[in-house]
């Protein structure tokens, strides 16, 4: 069963994203929100997702607010309604703070 992994901390301030990536299973999704979206324009994130069957999303409101763009087509943007949809589509949500 799939899990939605939510990361809300900057990759430069905590290792939340790294700890998230360590626990992601194939078929899971990652959602970047708040300062977590600062990872969205890093090619290193795209690299670590390559070949893992993991969808990665970033919350558009947080991207726009910070003027951050997504680095790679492998990262999708979702709005708040999409956030809700993602939560519903996964069996569990797990926050990596």
């Amino acid at each position: 069963m799939s899990t939605l992994h939510i990361v809300n901390k900057s990759p430069f301030r905590t290792d939340a994203l790294q700890r998230c990536l360590a626990l992601v299973s194939p078929g899971d999704s990652i959602l970047l929100i708040e300062d977590g979206v600062l990872a969205a324009n890093l090619s290193t994130l795209a690299d670590s997702l390559a070949g893992r069957d993991v969808n990665c999303y970033a919350l558009s409101e947080d991207l726009v607010a910070r003027s951050v763009s997504v680095a790679d087509t492998c990262i999708w943007t979702v709005d708040a309604a999409g956030f809700v949809t993602l939560v519903c589509e996964h069996r569990n949500s797990l926050s990596h703070g």
Binding site: M1, T3, R19, A22, N92, L94, S95
Partner: protein, 118 residues
């Protein structure tokens, strides 16, 4: 019976997260569900023997760990990488825990009905 997974990822003091998660575990245990209590990241510090937070005027969170068995919580796991990254070893722990890897934890999460992380 549901499978509930609890990820303890914070140190024992400095926030109330460790105690809050422990209370959740003990409460869930009352309902006799399958409980997996997993210590990883800074959470492995919760398992260290010899904690004495009296000078912090805090209660010793680890004192409750030997009671887990009485509450029927017998699946206690420890992420070995987290332990070793902190220069610790299993002989420093207050209670026995099964060592596991991040991959094992991913599987346990995937097979859980509910996951809690603090």
């Amino acid at each position: 019976m549901k499978t509930l997974t609890f990820l303890a990822r914070s140190g024992p003091y400095g926030s109330s997260k460790a105690k809050a998660l422990l209370d959740m575990v003990l409460s869930a245990a009352v309902f006799e569900q399958k409980i997996q209590y997993i210590f990883l990241d800074d959470g492995v510090y919760q398992l260290l023997a010899g904690q004495d937070p009296a000078l912090l005027a805090a209660k010793n969170v680890s004192a409750a760990l030997p009671a887990l068995e009485l509450y029927g919580v017998d699946q206690v796991y420890l992420d070995l990488d987290s332990l070793q990254a902190r220069g610790l070893s299993t002989d420093q722990l207050l209670i026995p825990a099964s060592t596991c890897s991040a991959g094992d934890i991913s599987k346990m999460i995937a097979e859980s009905d509910m996951v809690f992380s603090l």
